[in-house]
């Protein structure tokens, strides 16, 4: 299992390709919430206040817990319609 991290739109330009964080790495790095996921992927970049976050396709905030098998997505404000 793993945590699957996705970036959309301008967040993909900023962060690059989607990531898969293997279970062993999740445990070694004590990745427990969305903020931890971001810090593992972000190479020192700050999580901007206007970035939207989803876990398993539901909106959450950065303190939301994550677990093995979760899909975590980061994306900018939406502009459909």
């Amino acid at each position: 299992m793993a945590i699957y991290v996705k970036f959309f739109a301008s967040m993909r330009d900023l962060m690059g390709d989607d990531r898969i964080i293997d279970t062993a790495i999740v445990q070694q790095n004590s990745i427990n919430n969305v903020d931890d996921v971001w810090n593992y992927c972000a190479d020192g970049k700050q999580l901007s206040a206007n970035v939207l976050i989803a876990v398993n396709m539901d909106y959450v905030d950065a303190q939301n817990e994550v677990k093995d098998g979760d899909e975590v997505a980061f994306f900018p404000p939406v502009t459909g319609g």
Binding site: P77, V78, G80, G81
Partner: protein, 147 residues
């Protein structure tokens, strides 16, 4: 309730006509149909726009639109709901979105159509990247407020 995310261009009026004809089980029950169609402009933020690419989050977009429509159906006693949204490469004058709702009375239809559209604009995970006529491209950073 029908939610469609389409790569291909579509004619919202032909689609609406076909959809309503196929709602035979509801004929006689609805007294109001409210429709919103969004179309691509060739200008934005003072610049000429030649093309646009619409990205979405497969799975979450459909899930979110279904939730919006279910919520509106309960709140406004809707009889039927149709949401169609384009993704991919879009040209000016192409339809982007169709929202249509059917209810017994106009108040519910007007309000539900507006509420679905405003929720879609502010929360459904779609993102526009514009190609400007001078060759540059840029992500659209935010939608205008509808209220």
């Amino acid at each position: 309730m029908t939610i469609m995310i389409r790569q291909e261009t579509f004619d919202p009026w032909a689609m609406l006509d076909e959809y309503q004809k196929n709602m035979s089980q509801l004929h006689g029950q609805y007294g109001a149909t409210a429709v919103f169609v969004g179309t691509m402009r060739d200008f934005n933020e003072g610049d000429n726009v030649s093309e646009m690419f619409l990205e979405h989050y497969p799975g979450m977009t459909e899930k979110h639109l279904e939730n919006i429509c279910l919520q509106a159906t309960g709140e406004y006693h809707l009889l039927e709901t149709l949401v169609v949204h384009r993704v991919g490469a879009i040209k000016p004058n192409d339809p982007i979105v169709l929202v249509a709702v059917w209810s017994a009375h106009r108040k519910q239809a007007f309000e539900a159509c507006r509420e679905i559209m405003e929720d879609l604009k502010s929360k459904a995970p779609f993102w526009k990247k514009e190609q400007l006529k001078d060759g540059q491209d840029r992500w659209v950073e935010k939608n205008t407020r509808g209220y």
